[in-house]
Amino acid sequence: MSTEPPAGAAPAVHLTAITKRFPGVVANSDVNISVRAGTVHALVGENGAGKSTLMKILYGMQQPDEGTIAVNGKPVSFGSPADAIRAGIGMVHQHFMLADNLTVLENVVLGSEPRKGVGLDFAAAHARIKEISDSYGLGVDPDRLVDDLGVGERQRVEILKVLYRGARTLILDEPTAVLVPQEVDELFGNLRDLKAEGLTILFISHKLDEVLSVADDITVMRRGTTVASVSPEDVTARKLAELMVGSALPVPELRESTVTDEAVLSVEGLTLVGADGRTVLNDISFTIHAGEVLGIAGVEGNGQAELVETLMGIRSPTSGTITLSGKDITNESTRHRREAGVGYIPEDRHRQGVLLEATLWENRILGHQTRKPNVRGPLLDRRGAKADTERIVVEYDVRTPGIDVNAAALSGGNQQKLIVGREMSGAPILLIASHPTRGVDVGAQAAIWEHIRRARADHLAVLLISADLDELIGMSDTLSVILRGRLVADHDPATVTPEQLGSAMTGAGRED
């Protein structure tokens, strides 16, 4: 990695021995990356591996404690993003930095406006943006309001913003996280165009398939340091993932069957008509036994969210019954259902799972606000809640500086582990898990699977909804497919392949 580059082709960016410490943690230690000019260089690693910190250092938002940065062979030191921009480095943030009520033109020129007298030279700005947009095939119309643009277009505006400022090296922070597959293809097309024009792209991601398809070089980070530099021809996605995790990959699988004949949740003829008169759930019936995981596969928007909300008592069914351990709970409130032993991992942890601006122990109380150890009589038992939060942090390996920090300070995977730990507290008999490992890294994924497996062995009944077909097939005792609000097919997870499941989900392989 520290080999002398050939003359005349100094690396676009060369980071040597970068170390960055924050109080209590070392975010980066001895990081070495060399990015060849005119290439797409991918930086991969798990959440919390230190990728973002490194990019903030490179973009001048933070200063390294040790190490050097060289741009095109010249050592530089960035005190602010403005310095980085001057050195030709631009950043496309994961969360777009755009003002919705301003036009594309206004967003792009903001901060470095062409002037005519004291006024803004709209004509010049317009021409310049059009020129950049055309030469890189970005297809951006300067006069549109950003509010009217889709996600993919907004991202191109962000790229244009960076190019407008003369950047020759672009940092893209998880650019595909917000895109649908078709937009990802378009983005990769744009990136290839940019590369063809001689620009250098530093691409941060943890989606390995995408990295392999677009990158020329790959650097892997783990626990704050660079562990490998590979070329995409030499590795597979699986090998890359193992480099990221540092050990063999976890596989979703259940061991011996623990299914009993004790029915925990029985749903009979559940039907839900939405506010717009559309039938969202249509005559759904199933039973989950103690020690059984029922997986539900389906393309998103086929009634999964509504089914979960109906089971949790957030929506009232139009008809049908829900029975929990022999007791009809169809008309019970959400709180009563939870007190009766239903745990719930919601699909969107930021909307439903945690309060980002509340401490971990306060989050521990949510949903258990009437139960021990969180209450004593009519009052909250802070000490009890804190002690139990400590337990969750230890048992579920929630990596946090303490239980008094806000949930927002945790990475997504650790937030999710906290939620799983909370929902497993109080000895639930049924767990409803909606996308329990969505957006978490490989390590947290393995831990969550292990917890579900262990709870299943302890006679927990689990309803598992996921978009990850490998997870569904590996973790379920029984599999059903939901299509347009109906359960259309049952599959045996021991024999079904993801392809079969996929065609059943789209209705192509209907067999009833």
């Binding site: 602010s80 943030h93 755009l98 919705d100 009520n101 206004e106 903001l110 901060g111 803004l120 709209f122």
Partner: protein, 418 residues
Amino acid sequence: MTVGGLAVGLKSTPTRRGKRLSPMVYLIIAVGALVVVSAVRTLSDATDLTSSGTVQAALTAAVPLAMASLAGLWAERAGVVNIGLEGMMVLGTFGAGYAGYQWGPWAGIVGGLLFGVIGGLLHAVATVTFGVDHIISGVAINLLAPGAALFLSKQFFSNAPGGGQKQSPRIEDAQKVTLPGFSSWLGTIENKHWFFVSDLAGVLRGITTEISLLTLLAVVLIAATGWVLWRTPFGLRLRSCGESPAAAESLGVNVYKYKYYAVIASGGFAGLGGAMLAVSSGQFRDGQTGGRGFIGLAAMIFGNWRPGGLATGAGLFGYTDAMALRGSNAVHALLLLLGIALIVVAVLQYRSGQIVLSGVAAAIGVLFGWWYFSSDQVPAELVGAAPYVVTLLVLGLASQRLRPPRFVGEPYRRGQAI
């Protein structure tokens, strides 16, 4: 529809990036509105509806409101809610009284502006530097300013010739100009009381006769604000602080600095509004602003945070204010006008699918119509309330599709961009 009618009178919509309505459409709306007003005038025999005197009074009343809403515009475009406008206006009235009686009306204007700037600076320090909730800081200024003004007035005006504990000595009024020749000719036509023609003449005469230089200054400032905020890099940066301070900061815009500029300018405009009020009414008096700061804020919201819109809004409120001054007969005719306007709003809202809103507007409109036809006069006690009732109705029924600055009112701390 009175709104459109007054758009004719104001002609001060400088920065219309008219995507939906062309100037021709505005003209047609204005003419249509004037036809309705003429019809009501003929029907009710309330000549005050379109007399040149009314238009003049409306302009005089509208100017301080326009300045207050311009002040609100500057602050809110940069993301700071300035509910302290009222207080800053009060400071402006005192400043105008103090400087005005000693050194003339223009010194009074400058004095009011400087006092307003003090109020703006206070608000900026609280909200931008210290991150105080904008509403709390504004309310504090509203509580503080009248007390301060009264204290200062006792200090400086008690012993001044013609002054008192609660009022300043007289201030000379600013100069007035008349378009020569044109005015008397229009006056002849106005007095014929022809349908539409006389009304048009009345309105035109109102805006060309005895116009205070302060009014002209206000028109210039509204136009200049539109240009500065929408056509210069300075304005773009300032607005970006109200739309997305994180984006602005990530592009190297000093968000705090531009918020300071904006809020100080806001204080200056509010002070100017207070000063114009004091100068045009001849002296500083305690409690002179009478909630104009708040109405100015309402006019700004009505105007969808745009200079042309807020000028229209200020014109509307100025017009009802003028009607209230003209007395109960004029306000009585206003009932019918308001009823018709509400029915029009109801039809427009119905067509855009707002059934409930449309129903409410129609019901209130019918109520006003019934009130008009079943009575001969509006009780004198209610006449003064007319501008406020109109404010309420306009805000409730017309402000449905607005586009306020995205980050207005949200505290912003440096470094949130990361």
